[in-house]
C-alpha cells in the first residue's frame, strides 16, 4: 500500500508537511484538491442522500414477453441490501434503455429466420429520484420458445454514487463482459441442445405424416386428391419447411465464432478445435443439415438419448406457457460460474470510489516496481490481471488509427457543437442500418426508439435553451458501434483529446441538475470484449458474425459497417482493415480515460462551474514508454511460483482463514476505533480479493506496532534487527502477548521473496539454524519444562544470529543501533493515533529505504571496477562513500540498505521457477542487553 483515502485527503495541508521532514512532492496521480465543502464540516464520504438501499448491489432483470420487465435476482442476495428500493420500477427503467434492438426474423431476401448475434450494450443510467445510478449491461439469450427466439436480459451494477459508475465504467464493463460471455456461452450450448431435440421431434413428425400420406395415397385410387390428403400434404410441407428452418438455426448457432475467453476458468468446456470453428462454420453448410452427425454434435450436445415427440401442426405461441428460467436457459455450470463472477464483481467494487481509484493507482504503480515491490508489499494481488491489461495490446494500434479516423470524421457534417455529437451518434447507430433491411415487423419498435431519441434530442435542445421543467430526459452520448465515430466527432468539436465518459460528465453535469430525471448513455462500444481477442488474423470472419451469410446470399452482408469511409471490400484484407478500424475506434472510446494529459483541463472546468470536484483521480494506466521500460517484469518468476501464490491468495480470500487470522491478533478496541474512523463508507472497501482481511490485519498490526514503539524504549534496535535481516525472537510465556508483539513487528520485516512473509507467530520447539533462514521474526514459547530448557539452550547457542526480545522480563538482547532511519520510522512521540495511518507511515519510510536500496543495488560502478586495473579497495571506498554521502546513511543504516540490496540482488538473479537456496547472512557483532 502506498496510500489510502484517509491520507490522501490531507495531502495538501501545508503545515502538516512542514512538521515533517522535507519530502518530495507527491506524485501527480495522488494529488487531489481538497474537498470544497470540508470547511462546513461535511463528511466528504457522506452517504448520497436519497438512496433507498444500503450498499451497492447487482441486479439481473429480464424483459419478459409475458409480464414485461421484471427483476430476477440481486447480488448479494439479501433483502436488506436493496431495502426499500423499488426493484420492479428500476428493472423497468434499465430495461427500457436497451438500444441494441435485437432483430430476429425473416430478413428480406432470406428464406429462413435469422439469428442475430447481438453485441451486448453497456449504458450508464441515472435515476436521481431513486438516488440510484447504474451501469447496465444488456445481453440477449436465445430461447426456442421465446418470441423471435430471444430473451433480453440485463445485469446492472447499482450504486448510489454516480462517480463510481463513471470512474469505474471501464472496469465494470470488462468484468460484466466476462459474466455475460459466460452466460452466453452456456446459453448457446443449451440452445443448440434444444434445437436438436426439436429437430428430432420434427423429423419424427415428418416420418409419421409421410407414412400417413402414403397410406392415404394407397387407399385413394381415385384420380384426385381429397381435401384431407391436401391438408396432410400441406402439413407435411410445413413440417419440412420447419425442419429446414431449424436446421438452419442450428447451423447458425454452431457457426457462431467461438471466442476465446481470456479467463480459462470460464471456459473449461472449450473444444480443442475451436481454432477451426470459423472454417467449419463455412464447411458445415451441408453437413449441418444432418443433426445426428456425431462429429459436431459432441461440441454442444451430450444428450444421452431422446425420444422424439409428435409435434402438433399448429403449436401456437401461448402466453400461459411457462418461460424458461435463466438457469434453464444457460447450462447450470455456466450459470453458477456467472454467479461467481458477479459475486466477484460485487466484492471488487465495494466501497468508496475514491478508495477504489487510489487502490488502482497504487496497484498500477506498485506493479511497475517489479524489482523492489516484493520487499514490503503484499504482491500476491498484483498478479490479478487488471481489466485494462488485455486492451493494452491494441492501444497502440488504436492511437495509430486515430489520425486516420480524424481525417475521415472531419468530412462528416457537423451540427451545433453541443448537439452535434448526439445527433451524429443517433445517425451512426448501426441498428438503423439493419433496420433498413428488416421487414416491416420490427421497425415500429425501433422507430419508436428513434422518435424517442429525437424527442429527447429536441428536449435537450429545449433544455439548453432554458426550459426547466422536464419530466424525463435521455441523453445519448453514444451508443454501440457508433461510439467511436461519435467520440471522435465530439472531441473534434470540443477538445482535442477528450476522455469520453468524463467529457460527457462534465458537460452534462450542470444540465442534469435541472432535469429531474435523466438517463445517461455513455459511449458504449460494440463488442469490446469481442474484438481485441477475435481480431487476430486467424479469424477473418470473427467479427462478421454471420459468416454463412456471405456464402448463402451474396447480397446480404451483415458486416458491421461503422466507418462510412471504409468501403466494404470483398477480399479478406480489406475486411481486416475495416476490422482494424473498428477495433481502433473501440479502443479509443474505451481507453480514452487514460490520457492523463487531458486531465488538468477537465479538472478545471467543472470546478469553475460549481466548485465541486467532478473528477476524482483517474485510473492510472502506465504509459507504454517512460517508467515502464526500466526493468523486465518477473512474470516468468511469478509464474513459476504460481501454485503457492494462488494458494495463499485463496486462503486469504476465504472467510474462515481471515477470521482466524483476525482472532489471532485480535484487538477489539483498535478494530472498533478504526471501524468508526475510516468506515465512512457503508461497507468496508476491499482492496482486492481478500483485501478486507488484509486491510484489517494492517490496521491491527499498525496499532500494535504503535503501542510497541510507545511502550518499549528499545524499539529502535529491535526494528533495526528486523530491517537488517537479523532474526528477532520474541520470547514469552503468554501466547497471545507474544503473537501480538509478533504481529506488531511483522510490518517491519522485509520479504525475502514473493512467496512468503518470513514471520512465524508461535513456536514451541527449540529453534534450529534452518529456522533462521526461513523466518526473520519468530514468536517463541518460554516453558519451564525440560523442553523449555532445550529451547533456551538453543537460543544461547545460536545467539549470534539472533536478537532476543523477552516479552516477560521486557528485555532485548541485540546489536547496537545508532542510525537515524529507524528513529523516523518509530518515533515514540509520534502524533499518529490510528493503526492504519501508522502503517501507511511505516510503508512510506520503508518505500524510501527500498528506493535507496534500489539505487545502491543497480549502480554499476559501486559494485564493479570502472577500469580493469582498479583495485577492489577503491570500489569498496566508492561504495561506502555512496552510502554515506549520496544516500545520507549513517552507521547501522548502511547495513539496512545493504541487506535490502542483497535481497534485491537475490530476487533479481533468481532463475524463474527455481526457488533457490535460502541463505543466511550474518555479522559478527556484539550484542547488548537493553532493559526498560
Amino acid at each position: 500500500m502506498i496510500s489510502a483515502p484517509d491520507v490522501v485527503a490531507f495531502t495538501r495541508e501545508e503545515e502538516l508537511e512542514d512538521d515533517l521532514y522535507r519530502e518530495p512532492p507527491l506524485p501527480e496521480e495522488y494529488s487531489v484538491p481538497l474537498f470544497p465543502f470540508a470547511g462546513q464540516g461535511a463528511n466528504p464520504w457522506a452517504k448520497v442522500a436519497g438512496s433507498k438501499f444500503t450498499r451497492d448491489f447487482i441486479l439481473i432483470s429480464e424483459f419478459s414477453e409475458q409480464v414485461g420487465p421484471q427483476p430476477l435476482l440481486t447480488i448479494p442476495d439479501d433483502a436488506k441490501v436493496s431495502g426499500t428500493f423499488d426493484l420492479n420500477y428500476f428493472s423497468l427503467r434499465i430495461m427500457s434503455v436497451d438500444y441494441q434492438a435485437s432483430f430476429v426474423g425473416h430478413p428480406p431476401g432470406s428464406a429462413y429466420p435469422k439469428l442475430n448475434f447481438v453485441e451486448d450494450s453497456k449504458v450508464v443510467l441515472g435515476d436521481s429520484k431513486e438516488g440510484a445510478f447504474a451501469y447496465v449491461h444488456h445481453l440477449t439469450l436465445y430461447d426456442l420458445e421465446a418470441r423471435g427466439f430471444v430473451r433480453p436480459f440485463c445485469m446492472a451494477y447499482i450504486s448510489a454514487d454516480e462517480h463510481k459508475i463513471m470512474q469505474q465504467f471501464q472496469e465494470l464493463s470488462t468484468e460484466f463482459s466476462k459474466a455475460s460471455e459466460c452466460l452466453k456461452t452456456g446459453n448457446r450450448k443449451a440452445f443448440a441442445n434444444e434445437l436438436e431435440k426439436k429437430l428430432k421431434d420434427l423429423d419424427y413428425t415428418r416420418t409419421v405424416l409421410h407414412n400417413e400420406t402414403e397410406q392415404q395415397k394407397k387407399a385413394n385410387d381415385k384420380g384426385y386428391y381429397t381435401t384431407q390428403a391436401i391438408e396432410k400434404a400441406n402439413e407435411l410441407a410445413s413440417v419440412e419447411k420447419s425442419i429446414i428452418e431449424h436446421q438452419d438455426l442450428l447451423r447458425q448457432i454452431r457457426s457462431y465464432p467461438y471466442r476465446k475467453l481470456k479467463d480459462s476458468e470460464f471456459h473449461p468446456y472449450e473444444p480443442e478445435c475451436s481454432l477451426d470453428r470459423a472454417d467449419m462454420g463455412n464447411d458445415q453448410d451441408s453437413a449441418a443439415s444432418d443433426p445426428a452427425e456425431p462429429g459436431e454434435t459432441h461440441l454442444f450436445t451430450r444428450v444421452p438419448s431422446y425420444t422424439p415427440k409428435l409435434i402438433k401442426a399448429k403449436s401456437a405461441k401461448c402466453f400461459d406457457k411457462k418461460l424458461k428460467t435463466l438457469e434453464e436457459l444457460c447450462d447450470v455450470y455456466f450459470f453458477t460460474q456467472t454467479l461467481d463472477q458477479l459475486h466477484h464483481i460485487e466484492r471488487t467494487f465495494r466501497g468508496d470510489v475514491c478508495y477504489l481509484l487510489t487502490e488502482q493507482i497504487s496497484r498500477a504503480l506498485l506493479k511497475q516496481q517489479s524489482v523492489t515491490n516484493f520487499l514490503f508489499e503484499d504482491v500476491s494481488f498484483l498478479d490479478e490481471k487488471p481489466p485494462e491489461k488485455q486492451y493494452r495490446g491494441c492501444q497502440g494500434l488504436g492511437q495509430d488509427a486515430t489520425d486516420e479516423k480524424c481525417s475521415e470524421e472531419s468530412l462528416a457534417p457537423k451540427v451545433v457543437i453541443s448537439l452535434g455529437s448526439y445527433k451524429s451518434s443517433v445517425e451512426c447507430v448501426p441498428i438503423k442500418m439493419e433496420q433498413e433491411m428488416e421487414d416491416s415487423e420490427e421497425p415500429k419498435m425501433s422507430e419508436s426508439v428513434m422518435s424517442e431519441h429525437q424527442e429527447n434530442l429536441d428536449y435537450l435542445d429545449a433544455d439548453i435553451k432554458g426550459s426547466i421543467s422536464s419530466g424525463e430526459s435521455i441523453e445519448v452520448l453514444g451508443t454501440e458501434k457508433s461510439g467511436s465515430g461519435l467520440t471522435k466527432s465530439e472531441s473534434q468539436a470540443s477538445l482535442p483529446v477528450m476522455p469520453s465518459p468524463q467529457a460527457g460528465r462534465s458537460k452534462v453535469g450542470s444540465r442534469r441538475t435541472v432535469s429531474e430525471d435523466s438517463i445517461e448513455v455513455l459511449s458504449t462500444c460494440p463488442s469490446e470484449s469481442l474484438i481485441p481477442e477475435d481480431f487476430k488474423a486467424s479469424y477473418p470472419s470473427a467479427i462478421n458474425e454471420e459468416p454463412y451469410a456471405d456464402d448463402d446470399e451474396g447480397g446480404l452482408r451483415f458486416t458491421p459497417r461503422v466507418n462510412p469511409g471504409v468501403d466494404d471490400g470483398q477480399d479478406d484484407v480489406s475486411k481486416q482493415e475495416s476490422l482494424v478500424q473498428v477495433d481502433a475506434a473501440c479502443c479509443i472510446g474505451k481507453e480514452s480515460p487514460n490520457f492523463l494529459e487531458a486531465l488538468p483541463e477537465l479538472g478545471q472546468k467543472p470546478c469553475e462551474e460549481d466548485g465541486v470536484v467532478r473528477i476524482p483521480p483517474q485510473p492510472y494506466r502506465p504509459a507504454e514508454q517512460g517508467l515502464r521500460g526500466g526493468f523486465p517484469s518477473h512474470d516468468g518468476l511469478s509464474g513459476g511460483l504460481l501454485p503457492y501464490e494462488l494458494d495463499s491468495r485463496y486462503l486469504s480470500g476465504s472467510r474462515e482463514v481471515s477470521k482466524s487470522s483476525l482472532d489471532e491478533c485480535s484487538d477489539s478496541t483498535s478494530y472498533i476505533s478504526s471501524a468508526a474512523s475510516t468506515c465512512s463508507d457503508r461497507t468496508p472497501s476491499p482492496a482486492h480479493l481478500g483485501g478486507a482481511a488484509g486491510e484489517r490485519h494492517r490496521k491491527r498490526a499498525g496499532q500494535n506496532a504503535l503501542r510497541f514503539i510507545r511502550q518499549y524504549p528499545f524499539a529502535h534496535p529491535a526494528i533495526y534487527s528486523l530491517l537488517s535481516g537479523r532474526t528477532l525472537v520474541v520470547l514469552g510465556e503468554d501466547e497471545a502477548m507474544v503473537k501480538k508483539l509478533v504481529t506488531a513487528l511483522s510490518i517491519f520485516v522485509p520479504n525475502c521473496g514473493v512467496y512468503a512473509k518470513p514471520v512465524k507467530h508461535w513456536v514451541t520447539s527449540p529453534l534450529h539454524l534452518v529456522d533462521f533462514q526461513k523466518w526473520k521474526l519468530i514468536g517463541l514459547q518460554r516453558a519451564v519444562s525440560p523442553a523449555g530448557v532445550n529451547v533456551l539452550h538453543a537460543l544461547s547457542r545460536y545467539s549470534r544470529y539472533l536478537s532476543i526480545l523477552d516479552a516477560d522480563s521486557k528485555t532485548l538482547r541485540c546489536p547496537l543501533y545508532r542510525g537515524t532511519v529507524v528513529a523516523r520510522l518509530a518515533d515514540h512521540r509520534t502524533q499518529i493515533k490510528r493503526g492504519s495511518t501508522y502503517y501507511m507511515h511505516v510503508q512510506s519510510i520503508l518505500t524510501q529505504l527500498c528506493s535507496k536500496a534500489f539505487l545502491f543495488t543497480f549502480c554499476h560502478h559501486l559494485h564493479l571496477p570502472i577500469s580493469e586495473r582498479e583495485p577492489e579497495e577503491s570500489v569498496v571506498s566508492r561504495r561506502m562513500n555512496f552510502l554515506k554521502h549520496q544516500l545520507g546513511l549513517a552507521n547501522e543504516d548502511i547495513k539496512i540498505v545493504q541487506y535490502l540490496a542483497e535481497l534485491l540482488k537475490l530476487h533479481y538473479i533468481q532463475e524463474p521457477g527455481q526457488g533457490g537456496n535460502p541463505l543466511l547472512r550474518f555479522d559478527y557483532v556484539p550484542s547488548f542487553l537493553y532493559k526498560i
Binding site: R797, I909, N917
Partner: protein, 442 residues
C-alpha cells in the same frame, strides 16, 4: 567451568558471514570429498551419496545404490591424455559392496560385491592408475574394476587406514601394526600386479588411529593412547616419536591445568594433518603442532573444543581449522609469540596452585629454549556455530568457502559474505546486460 578458550561475538578475522544449509541426508553425514574445483560429494550413514555444487549449494545428484552406511569414499579422477577427464567416485559400504559412480552423469558405473568383509578404506594410486580397498584383506583394482591381486586374509578387524608411500608401496594400519606392502608388476600379464608384504612395524602400543603421509620422505602415525611416530617413508624406520605430549608438565608454554584422569578418549590421536614443516594432531579435545625439524611440539591448544576434535586441516594462510563433537568449527591461527626479554612468569602464581616445583624446572627449561627458538601459539580467530550435533568432517574450498558435515544430517556451506555479495552484483549486471536493461539506464 569449561576452560575452553572462547571468542566473543565480534570476530573481525572470521570471513564466513554467510551460510547455506544443504539438506538431503537422513542420517549422520560422515564424509565429504572434493570432486573438482566446484563440486563435492557427501556420504554418511544413510547410504546415499549426494553431489553438490560448492558455489551455489545446488544439489546435483543423489546417488542411491548402497543399502547400508558408507564406510569409505574416495575420488578417482582419471586424467588420461587420450580420453577426456572423467570424475569418478568410489564408495564402500557396510553392505560389502563398492560402487563406482560417474560424477558427470550421476550414474552408477560399476558395482563390486565380492567382498568378504566391509571395506573400511579406499586409496587411489593415481600414478599406477589403480585403487586399493582395505578390509580384512587388501585388494588392488584397476579402473575397470578388475581385481588385479589381493593379499591373504590379514585380520578380522580389518585395515583401518591406508597411505601411499614412494616406490609403489603402501602402508596399512592393521590394529597396532603397520604393514608395508609393495606392488610389483607380475611377470605373466601386462596389467597384472602382485602385492607383497614387505615389513611389519610393531612400535605402537595401541591401535593405530590415524595415518598420514607428510612428504615423499616421511609419514606419521598416531595411536589411541596418544603416540605419535614419525617414519621414514623409504626405509620405514622410526625417525622420531612423541608419546606423552598431552602431558602438560612437559610443555611449559601452555597454561597448566588440573587433570584428574587421562581417559584414553582424551589422548587418542583422532586425526593428523601436515604441511611441510609441521604435523598437526587432533588429540582428544586439543590440537597440537609438532615441528618435524625441531622434533617437538611447538604449540598446542590443550582444550580447543568442548569435546573430541574429529578433524583438523591446515589452511595455506597459517590458519588451522578444527571441528569437534561439540558441534562447533573453530579457526585457529598459528602465531609467533613476541619474544620478551624476560619471561614474566610469576612463579608465585604456580605456587599458589601447588604446581610450583613441578613447573619451576620446566619453566627454566623453557626459558632456555626460548632463547634460541621462536615460540608459537594457536590463537582462536573465529568459530562457526551452526550444527546442532557433532561436526564429523569439513572440506575447505578456498575462496568458495567451507563445507561442514554433521551428525545432525546437515551440511553447511560457509561462505565469505563480502565475496558472495560482490559475486551476486556481478551476476546481476550480467543478467541486466543480457536482458538489455542496461541500455535503458542512463
Amino acid at each position: 567451568k569449561s576452560s575452553v578458550q572462547t571468542i566473543g561475538e565480534e570476530q573481525i578475522q572470521n570471513p564466513y558471514t554467510e551460510l547455506l544449509v544443504l539438506k538431503g541426508h537422513q542420517d549422520i553425514v560422515r564424509f565429504l570429498v572434493q570432486v573438482d574445483d566446484c563440486r563435492f560429494a557427501s556420504a554418511g550413514d544413510d547410504g546415499i551419496i549426494f553431489l553438490w555444487n560448492a558455489q551455489t549449494g545446488e544439489k546435483l545428484y543423489e546417488l542411491h545404490g548402497h543399502t547400508h552406511k558408507i564406510t569409505a569414499i574416495a575420488p578417482f579422477s582419471s586424467s588420461d591424455v587420450t580420453e577426456e577427464k572423467t570424475d569418478l567416485i568410489i564408495t564402500a559400504s557396510a553392505d560389502r559392496t563398492v560402487i563406482v559412480w560417474d560424477c558427470a552423469s550421476g550414474r552408477q558405473v560399476q558395482k563390486v560385491s565380492c567382498f568378504h568383509s566391509t571395506v573400511k578404506c579406499l586409496t587411489v594410486l593415481q600414478r599406477l592408475n589403480v585403487w586399493l580397498s582395505g578390509g580384512s584383506d587388501l585388494c588392488v583394482w584397476n579402473r575397470k574394476l578388475d581385481l588385479l591381486c589381493k593379499t591373504s586374509h590379514l585380520t578380522d578387524a580389518g585395515i583401518s587406514a591406508l597411505v601411499e608411500l614412494p616406490k609403489n608401496c603402501v602402508a596399512a594400519a592393521v590394529g597396532k601394526e603397520l604393514i608395508i606392502f609393495r606392488l610389483s608388476a607380475s611377470n605373466n600379464g601386462s596389467e597384472g600386479w602382485n602385492i607383497l608384504e614387505v615389513k611389519r612395524l610393531v612400535d605402537h602400543q595401541d591401535n593405530i588411529s590415524s595415518l598420514v603421509s607428510v612428504n615423499d620422505l616421511t609419514f606419521v602415525t598416531g595411536s589411541h593412547i596418544g603416540e605419535l611416530i614419525v617414519w621414514d617413508a623409504l626405509d620405514w624406520t622410526k625417525q622420531a616419536s612423541e608419546c606423552n605430549f598431552w602431558d602438560s608438565s612437559v610443555h611449559p608454554d601452555v597454561q597448566p591445568e588440573i587433570k584428574l584422569s587421562q581417559s584414553p578418549q582424551e589422548t587418542s590421536v583422532q586425526h593428523l594433518t601436515s604441511d611441510e614443516e609441521c604435523v598437526f594432531a587432533a588429540v582428544g579435545k586439543g590440537i597440537y603442532v609438532y615441528n618435524l625439524q625441531m622434533k617437538r611440539v611447538i604449540a598446542c591448544q590443550r582444550t580447543a573444543h568442548d569435546s573430541s576434535v574429529l578433524h583438523i586441516e591446515k589452511l595455506p594462510n597459517r590458519q588451522l581449522i578444527s571441528c569437534s563433537e561439540d558441534g562447533s568449527v573453530r579457526i585457529w591461527e598459528l602465531r609467533e609469540k613476541q619474544q620478551l626479554p624476560a619471561e614474566p612468569v610469576p612463579t608465585g602464581f604456580f605456587n599458589m596452585w601447588g604446581f610450583g616445583r613441578a613447573n619451576k624446572q620446566a619453566n627454566q627449561a623453557a626459558k632456555k629454549m626460548h632463547e634460541n627458538t621462536p615460540v608459537y601459539f594457536l590463537e582462536l580467530v573465529g568459530d562457526l556455530i551452526g550444527h546442532s550435533s557433532a561436526v564429523q568432517m569439513f572440506l575447505y574450498f578456498g575462496e568458495l568457502g567451507l563445507a561442514t558435515c554433521s551428525a545432525d544430517h546437515l551440511i553447511i556451506l560457509w561462505k565469505d559474505g563480502e565475496r558472495e555479495s560482490s559475486l551476486r552484483s556481478l551476476t546481476l549486471f550480467k543478467k541486466l546486460a543480457q536482458n538489455g536493461d542496461l541500455q535503458l539506464k542512463l
